[in-house]
Structure formats: structure tokens, C-alpha cells
Subunit: 245 residues, 2 copies
Amino acid sequence: MRRIKLTVAYDGTAYHGWQVQPNGVTIEGELNKALSSLFGEKIEVIGASRTDSGVHALGNIAVFDTETRMPADKIAYALNQRLPEDIRIRKSEEAAPDFHPRKCESVKTYEYRIYHDKFPLPTRRLYTHYSYADFDILAMKEAAAYLTGEHDFQSFCASGSQAETTVRTVYAAEVFEEGKEIVIRISGGGFLYNMVRIIAGTLMAVGQGVYPPEHMREIIEAKDRSAAGPTAPAKGLTLISYEFP
Amino acid sequence: MRRIKLTVAYDGTAYHGWQVQPNGVTIEGELNKALSSLFGEKIEVIGASRTDSGVHALGNIAVFDTETRMPADKIAYALNQRLPEDIRIRKSEEAAPDFHPRKCESVKTYEYRIYHDKFPLPTRRLYTHYSYADFDILAMKEAAAYLTGEHDFQSFCASGSQAETTVRTVYAAEVFEEGKEIVIRISGGGFLYNMVRIIAGTLMAVGQGVYPPEHMREIIEAKDRSAAGPTAPAKGLTLISYEFP
């Protein structure tokens, strides 16, 4: 048996998220179906990030075991023939037989995009959260800086999460503008359930003057979900990369 | 009666183009429906550019007549409430009662986008034409330069077109890169049926070395559709603006 690692990009619009579920089409389900049909074996992938419904990815990771002798780099092409257009394998490569993407040290990078103008742009509606509001970008940059480092991020964790610990390390958190889009780009060793979307909702609140940037310190210290801002909508979120240093 | 001018943006993916037709949902049809329901009168818009199925717009123009007393600038907001998310009115304003968008001097600007990488990107699949090929951007720039000025563009006109004359003026034709996208941006006083898509297909052929840039002159002089390259797919095309100087 060989273990193959896939780098997967998708438009999450049409899917009920990554993870296989009884009702609804999922990314994981489509990968399992395409792989099983390609190799004539029952194949189930192990995904790195189980993204929510509507969330997009440029570089999620999945691994699977197979008996095929197909060269690893050719699997991406063969698989793309069998996948819907909104899921693409960007890379396929050999992995160690015991490589598990959720049990290794990794660096995840997410982007949250806010489209800010008088009216939403139809061609960006699926990939950005639209807001008519005025945002103070400098205040958002200042607030984002409080997130870097190791912190207990319980205030930024959806209630009901099963995480053993809510301590996580954020390596970088930037806010910048690209045309009419405000981009929140955040990298870390791990993120709690809904953490990036709650951070985005909180930074938007700072940008709109709901509280000053330095209030981020108090939100972190509160260790209470209700201290942070609202969870920003899924469609503005994209998993940019999931890397194993 | 007042005449109102609308600036309309849309994602053309779900539509059978601009123009009302017996079968299939169209942008014009959706506008007529939303306007008629908003004002309680039967309203039919006059569109500036009757874009094809799958073509997008940031700034198409439509005018209509109405008896409403609603302030012109408020109409955009009221109309957006009644339109699907993939059509947005960006501006509504008062126009002269005899203003006809297809009978006035105008400058149209189109962009054709080619996504060029090893694999297509799912989140750009609806707004770009994907190509695996290598493109010589300098050759494409050089070829595009032959298009500017007044020419008989018959070679770039879909056969079966009803145009009285195939002479048109191109004000600017540029080719540039934005990340992994090659952008062909072209402005002119008017375009023949499929002209921008045939220009895009021809510039792509130049970029792939099918013929040298200077062959553009012969293509123009041939005044024969078969001399030019193929018609590039609709989804890579966006009408950027339609202006009345």
C-alpha cells in the first residue's frame, strides 16, 4: 500500500462543507467517489481541514491509501477528469505511510475577504462578504496585531466545540486592501472551530468603531465567546494553504 | 414620463445572455420584471450592450421610461431589493427623454481574462478561460497594437452578422498579466458581433506561436473571418464600462 497526498482547491459554494454527511454533497464525498472509481478500490481520504459549508480552499490537503502503481504526479490529472469543475487537484505526491495531516505540525493560512463599496459586485458575491459600512483599516491592522503569539483563544471559539485546549499560536495576522476588498490574512499552527470567522467579525467591529483596537486584549483575556464580535459569514473565507514545515 | 438610466453589473453564468427570449432567463427579462413589479407599470428597458450567454458585466447600461416620482438615485436601491443577487444596479440617474444608449456616441471597454497555470482554479473558473498553454505575452502585446485605429474588422466578425458596415474604431488594446491571469483590455467606439472574443482567440494563437504578431496586419487585410483565430469562450469576457463622452 502507498499513501498519496493531494493538494485540493475548491469553490465551496455548492457543497455542504468538507466532511462526508448523510444528506448533502461534500468535498470529501466527491473525492472518495472519484478515487474509488479511478482505482476500482474503496478509498476514503483523510482531510487536513474540515472546512464548513460555503468556505473555499486553494490548498487543502487530503491523503489516501491505494494499491495502484500509477506514478504519484499523474494521479492529479486522472482525478481531475473525474471530479466536478469546482474541485481541482493541484498536486499529487507520494507521502510516508504513516503521514496523517491532522497529527503533524502544520502552518495553516486563511484569508477572509470583505467587499466594501456602495453596492455589492455580482462577480465577487460568492467569494467575499459584502459590507456597505466604512472601515477604519488602520484600526483593524492595530487590532489584528494583538492576535499574534500563543494565546488562549476561547473567546474566538464557537460554543459547543470539543477542543481539548483552546490555546493556539497565531504566527501572523495582517489586514490590507486590494481594490475594494479588505483582506484579513492569518497564519497559525492551528485554529479552533469558527476561529477565523469570529476574528473576522471582531476585526470588522473594530473597523466600524464598535470598540477601539486595544479592546482586543480584553476580548482575549475574557476567555468568553460573548466578549468577541459576531461570526462572519462563511463565503468570505478561503483556506489559502496548509503546509507541513 | 421620465427616462431613467441604469448602470448594471451582473454575473452572466446563470443567464441566457442579456436579451429577452422565449426560453431561458435573461438579464433584460429580470430587469423588466423587477421594474414592472416595483412601479406597477409595464416597463421594458432598452439595453446598451446585448451581451451573450455567460458574458459578465461591471457596467452595462439600460434605460427605461416611467411615471414614478421616486428620486432617480433611490431607484437603484429599490430595484436591488427585487433583483437576484447576481444582478446589481450600481447607479440610477435621470436621462434626457430621447437618450438611446445604442444611438449615441459611446466608448465600450471589455476585458478578456485567461487563467494560465498547471491546473484551473475553481474560484476563478466562471470568470476566466483556462489554458494550460504557455503564452508569449510580449508577442500578444505587439499583436494587439495592430488593432488600434479605424479598420475594417470583418475578419473579426462572426459570420451571419447583420452589421451594415464592419468598419470600427479601436481606441486602445492592451495585454497585461495579473498574477496567473492574462488580461486583454480593449476599448472602442463599437464592436461587431463576437469581435472581442475573436480578437481574444486570435491573440491567444499569437501567444502560443501559431503565427507571429505582424501577421495581425494580414488578418485584418484579409477581411475574412476564416483568417482570424477561434472565438474564445464567453465566460472569460466582461463588459467593464459603457460610457457616453
